[in-house]
C-alpha cells in the first residue's frame, strides 16, 4: 500500500480544520443545504473536517434522518394507548420493533425499501435489500425466521419491466435462498406509475427469548468496540467521491462504485456467528452496518449509550487499500456488524468469530464524556457530539396541500364503465380478471424462493398470510401479511392506508392468527411537492388512527421518498405489514377448500364499490371515484370470528376478499387444491340490494369466504349470529363440480380457470 497517500499528513484533521476556517467545502455536492452546513459549524464551533462533513451529510440525508417525515411521527405516539403498549417490548426508533408473543418469546419484524438501487442494478439492489433487513433483525438479538418481499413494477408489457423484474426476483431469491430463510409471502403488483420507480420492499421477521433482546447502544467505559464480518471496500460511496477529489489530487482513489454487491454466504456465516455470540452472552451492544456504514454505526451506538466513543479508523480491515478515511466512514460494504464487548469477554468473543472464520477487529472503546472521537494514524479526524450526528439532524416542516387532482378523480366514477349484461359477459370478465397482471398466478416469481428451508413454514404463497413456527415444542408461531392498493391511496390516502392496514389485518386473521403489531414501508414521491407531503401526512394519520381503532401498535417502519420521475410521483404506496400470533401454527387455515360437502359462507356485506378496484383498472384502465368504505369495527369483528372459528375447528378454509372481489376469491379457493364448488348468490344480492355483477366484482372491505364442515355448521352460524357477524350461506364444496358452478347463471371449468390464471407471467418471462 502506498504509505504516502495513507499518511496523516494528507488527511484533514480537527486541528487543521480549526486553523483553516475558510477552506471551501463541497457541502452542496454532498446534498447539504447552506443552513445545514452553517448548523454543523455552529455545533462544532469550527468548520467540519472532511470526515465530519461526510458523516453529517450522510446522516442528515433524507434516507437516514427522516428530516421531512419525522414531524409527522408524533402521530404514532399520540395514537398508541397504554393497552397497545402492553405487548410492545421495543418500540419505534430501534433497529426494529419487538413484541411479546407469549411463552417467553419475543418477535421482531420490520420492512425496508431498496427501491432506487434495485432500479439501477436489479439483482444486487434487491439482494442487498434482503441482506440489510436481515441484519436489522439480527441486531436485535434475534434469529431471523423468514422474509417477505412486497414488489411493485411498471407495466407488465413494458420492455424495462423485462429487465427489472427477473433481476429483482433472482436477487431476492439468490440472496434469501442462500441465507436459508424461507420467503413466505409478499406481493407482486404492476402499475404504470411504477415504471421508472419500481418498489422493492423487504420484510424480515425474527424471534428470540424475551431476555435475549439486544440493543444498539455503547455503554460501560472501557468496553471494546469491535467491527466484524466482511472487509470494507468502496461499495456504495459514489456520492462521497466528490470529497476525495476535492481534498486530494495525487494518488486519489479510483472510481468508486455506487452499487453494493452482496455476499449471502458471508451473511449466512455472520448470522450463525452472531447467534453463537448472543448465546455465549459476550455482546453488550450491537449494531448492523447498512446505509451510511461506519458513520451510522459509530454515531448511533455512541448516541444511544451513556458515554463517548473513541475509534481508530486505520484499524478497519480494507478490501481496497486506497480508500480514504472519509470513504471508509461512508462505505456501504455489506455483511458487517459492530459490537460493544466487555474486555473480560473479548477473548471468548474472538474465539467464536474465529470458529466461523469471521474477521473481527477491535477498533476502539467506550470512553467517558460524550464525544465520538475518530482517529487516523493517531491524528484526530472526527470529534463530534454523536447525538448531533445520529439523532439531532434537521427537521423540516414541509408545506402540505391537498392536490387538485383529487376532485377530478373523485368525479370520474366507475359508474359509467360498461358492466357485462349477461352470464357470458360476466364469465368473460371473470376470466380476464383472473389473467390480469395483478391477479394472475405469481408462481413464476414465488417458485424462485425457497419457502421450506428451516422446516417451520406452515403457510406461504399463495395463501393469504405467511405462517412460521417459532417454538418447536409447542408450535407457537406467527403469521404475517403485507398489503397495499396504491390506487385506493391515490384516490384517498387516508382511506387507502387504512384499507391496506385492514387487508393485512384481515389476512392474518384469515390464516387463524390474532393480529398483534404493525410495521410499514411508506413509499412516496418527492417531499418537496406539497401534494405528496399531504398524501404522506394523510397516510400516516390513516395508519396511526386505524391502528388505534384496531388496538395494535405500529412497532417501526421505513420511509422512502423521491419515488418519482420528473414531476410525476408514484401512487402513494403505504405498504402495511401486520403480524399475528397463533398457539399452534400446524392448525393454520389455508386459503383453498379441499373437503367435499363443506359449506361455503360469505362473511360481511357487499356494496357497489368499484372505485380504484381491479375490475375498473385491469379491464377498463380506469382510476376514479372513491375507494371502498373503511369499517374498522367490522374488520375487528370479522377477525375475531375468523380466529375463533379457526381455533375451535369450525372452518377448514378461509380466504379474504380483496382485489377482484368475490369472483377472484372463489376462483382462487377453487384453484388452490383443484376442488370445485357450487355457488348461489341470489340471497346475498337480495339482502345487500346489489346485482350479480356487483356481488362478484365489488371490493367492499371486511369480507371473507370460509368453508365450514357440516358437523360444525350450527356452531358456526350460532357464533356469527350471537356476535352480529353478517353471514350468508353461498355454496358448497363439491368435487363432482368441475370448477365453479354459479347455479342458474354460469359455469367455469377448472381448466378454464387454470388456463386463464397461470398463463400470464410465463407468456412474458418464459418458462
Amino acid at each position: 500500500m502506498d504509505e504516502v497517500t495513507r499518511s496523516a499528513a494528507h488527511v484533514d484533521t480537527v486541528s487543521r480544520a480549526a486553523q483553516s476556517p475558510d477552506v471551501e467545502q463541497p457541502w452542496l455536492e454532498l446534498g447539504l443545504k447552506s443552513d445545514e452546513y452553517e448548523r454543523i459549524r455552529e455545533i462544532l464551533g469550527r468548520r467540519p473536517t472532511s470526515a465530519e462533513l461526510a458523516m453529517y451529510s450522510v446522516m442528515w440525508s433524507e434516507h437516514c434522518s427522516y428530516k421531512s417525515s419525522k414531524v409527522h411521527f408524533s402521530l404514532w405516539g399520540e395514537n398508541t394507548t397504554d393497552e397497545m403498549r402492553e405487548r410492545l417490548l421495543v418500540g419505534i426508533g430501534e433497529n426494529a420493533g419487538v413484541v411479546d408473543i407469549g411463552d417467553g418469546w419475543a418477535v421482531t419484524f420490520k420492512a425496508e425499501s431498496h427501491n432506487h438501487p434495485s432500479y439501477v442494478e436489479p439483482y444486487q439492489g434487491a439482494a442487498t435489500g434482503v441482506g440489510g433487513i436481515v441484519r436489522d433483525i439480527m441486531s436485535m438479538g434475534a434469529r431471523p425466521l423468514a422474509v417477505m418481499d412486497p414488489l411493485r413494477f411498471g407495466n407488465l408489457n413494458h420492455p424495462d419491466t423485462l429487465r427489472v423484474l427477473p433481476g429483482v426476483v433472482a436477487g431476492v431469491g439468490g440472496y434469501g435462498n442462500c441465507l436459508g430463510l424461507p420467503n413466505i409471502g409478499g406481493e407482486v403488483v404492476f402499475d404504470d406509475c411504477y415504471q421508472g420507480n419500481p418498489l422493492v420492499n423487504a420484510l424480515c421477521v425474527g424471534a428470540m427469548r424475551v431476555e435475549d433482546i439486544h440493543l444498539a447502544k455503547a455503554s460501560g467505559v472501557g468496553n471494546k468496540v469491535v467491527l466484524f464480518g466482511a472487509k470494507t471496500g468502496g461499495d456504495g460511496i459514489g456520492g462521497v467521491s466528490v470529497l476525495a477529489s476535492e481534498t486530494f489530487d495525487e494518488g486519489g482513489p479510483t472510481k468508486r462504485p455506487a452499487v453494493q454487491v452482496g455476499d449471502p454466504f458471508a451473511e449466512k456465516v455472520l448470522i450463525e456467528c452472531c447467534l453463537d455470540l448472543y448465546a455465549a452472552h459476550v455482546v453488550d451492544g450491537i449494531q448492523d452496518l447498512g446505509g451510511a456504514g461506519l458513520s451510522c454505526a459509530t454515531s448511533e451506538l455512541a448516541s444511544n449509550g451513556d458515554g463517548g466513543m473513541r475509534v481508530e479508523l486505520d484499524r478497519v480491515p480494507l478490501r481496497d487499500a486506497s480508500l480514504r478515511p472519509e470513504e471508509i466512514l461512508m462505505s456501504e460494504s455489506q455483511e458487517r456488524m459492530m459490537a460493544v464487548v466487555e474486555p473480560s469477554r473479548l477473548g471468548q468473543f474472538l474465539e467464536i468469530t474465529d470458529r466461523w472464520d469471521v474477521e473481527a477487529t477491535v477498533l476502539g472503546e467506550v470512553t467517558d464524556g460524550d464525544h465520538l472521537v475518530i482517529t487516523w494514524h493517531g491524528e484526530v479526524i472526527v470529534d463530534v457530539p454523536p447525538r448531533s450526528v445520529a439523532h439531532e439532524g434537521p427537521t423540516y416542516h414541509r408545506p402540505l396541500e391537498r392536490p387538485a387532482y383529487l376532485d377530478v378523480l373523485h368525479d370520474s366514477t366507475p359508474d359509467s364503465l360498461p358492466r357485462p349484461a349477461d352470464a357470458e359477459g360476466l364469465k368473460a370478465d371473470l376470466l380476464s380478471l383472473l389473467a390480469s397482471p395483478n391477479l394472475c398466478d405469481k408462481s413464476w416469481v414465488t417458485d424462485q424462493y425457497d419457502r421450506y428451508v428451516q422446516g417451520n413454514t406452515a403457510l406461504a404463497m399463495p395463501d393469504d398470510a405467511g405462517v412460521v413456527r417459532v417454538d418447536e415444542q409447542t408450535g407457537r408461531g406467527v403469521a404475517i401479511s403485507t398489503d397495499c392498493n396504491g390506487r385506493f391511496a391515490k384516490l384517498d390516502p387516508y382511506a387507502g392506508a387504512q384499507l391496506a392496514l385492514a387487508e393485512a389485518y384481515r389476512n392474518v386473521a384469515t390464516a387463524g392468527a390474532v393480529p398483534l403489531a404493525v410495521t410499514d414501508c411508506l413509499n412516496f414521491g418527492s417531499p418537496e411537492d406539497p401534494g405528496v407531503m399531504w398524501q404522506f401526512r394523510e397516510a400516516v394519520r390513516g395508519i396511526a388512527e386505524g391502528c388505534r381503532h384496531l388496538g395494535i401498535p405500529v412497532t417501526g417502519g421505513n420511509v422512502s421518498f423521491y419515488n418519482q420521475t420528473g414531476d410525476t410521483a408514484i401512487h402513494p404506496t403505504p405498504v402495511v405489514g401486520v403480524l399475528g400470533v397463533m398457539d399452534d401454527v400446524a392448525r393454520r387455515t389455508p386459503s383453498g377448500w379441499k373437503a367435499p360437502g363443506q359449506v361455503i359462507y360469505l362473511l360481511g356485506r357487499t356494496r357497489d364499490e368499484l372505485g380504484g378496484g381491479e375490475w375498473a383498472h385491469a379491464l377498463h384502465g380506469h382510476l376514479g371515484g372513491r375507494p371502498p368504505r373503511v369499517d374498522l369495527d367490522a374488520e375487528r369483528l370479522l377477525a375475531d370470528i375468523l380466529v375463533n372459528a379457526s381455533r375451535d375447528g369450525l372452518v377448514d378454509a378461509a380466504h379474504d376478499l380483496s382485489d377482484g372481489g368475490l369472483a377472484i376469491a372463489l376462483a382462487e379457493a377453487t384453484l388452490r387444491y383443484g376442488v370445485g364448488a357450487r355457488i348461489w348468490l341470489d340471497a346475498v344480492c337480495e339482502r345487500d340490494r346489489i346485482d350479480l355483477f356487483t356481488a362478484l366484482f365489488s371490493e367492499s372491505a371486511a369480507r371473507a369466504v370460509v368453508a365450514v364442515p357440516r358437523s360444525e355448521e350450527v356452531r358456526f352460524t350460532d357464533m356469527c349470529t350471537a356476535r352480529g357477524q353478517v353471514h350468508a350461506r353461498i355454496g358448497v364444496v363439491d368435487d363432482e363440480t368441475d370448477g365453479l358452478d354459479l347455479q342458474g347463471q354460469l359455469t367455469v371449468t377448472l381448466a378454464e380457470l387454470r388456463d386463464a390464471h397461470t398463463g400470464t407471467l410465463p407468456a412474458v418471462f418464459g418458462r
Binding site: 439501477v120 442494478e121 444486487q124 466482511a230 471496500g233 468502496g234 461499495d235 479510483t254 472510481k255 468508486r256 462504485p257 455506487a258 452499487v259 454487491v261 455476499d263 454466504f265 458471508a266 478490501r319 481496497d320 460494504s333 455489506q334 472464520d357
Partner: protein
C-alpha cells in the same frame, strides 16, 4: 469458422465473493503463493469465415450492450481466436 473471444471481469473495486471463496481454499490445498483470486466470464462468439475488423467491432458493441453489465463489470478483452478449424 472463426471465433471472437470476449473476457468480462467484475470491476476491480467490486466485491467478488466467488473469487474470495476460491482464494480461501487454495492455501488449504497447499497453494500458498496466490494472494488473490478473481473470477470472470469468457464468451466465445463464432462467425462464418475469418474474423474481420467488423466482427470485432460488432463484438465489442455486443460486449458492452449485453454480455457485460457496465454498472459492475468491465469488458477486459475482445480478440480473434483465429480459425477454429
Amino acid at each position: 469458422m472463426g471465433n471472437v473471444v470476449i473476457d468480462v471481469m467484475l470491476k476491480p473495486e467490486i466485491l467478488d465473493p466467488q473469487g474470495q471463496a476460491v482464494g480461501g481454499v487454495l492455501p488449504r490445498l497447499g497453494f500458498e503463493q496466490f494472494t488473490e483470486v478473481r473470477q470472470g466470464k469468457r464468451f466465445v462468439l463464432t462467425v462464418d469465415g475469418d474474423v474481420t475488423q467488423e466482427h470485432l467491432s460488432a463484438a465489442r458493441q455486443a460486449a458492452e450492450k449485453l454480455l457485460s453489465n457496465p454498472v459492475i463489470e468491465d469488458v477486459v478483452s475482445v480478440r480473434a481466436e483465429g480459425s477454429a478449424q
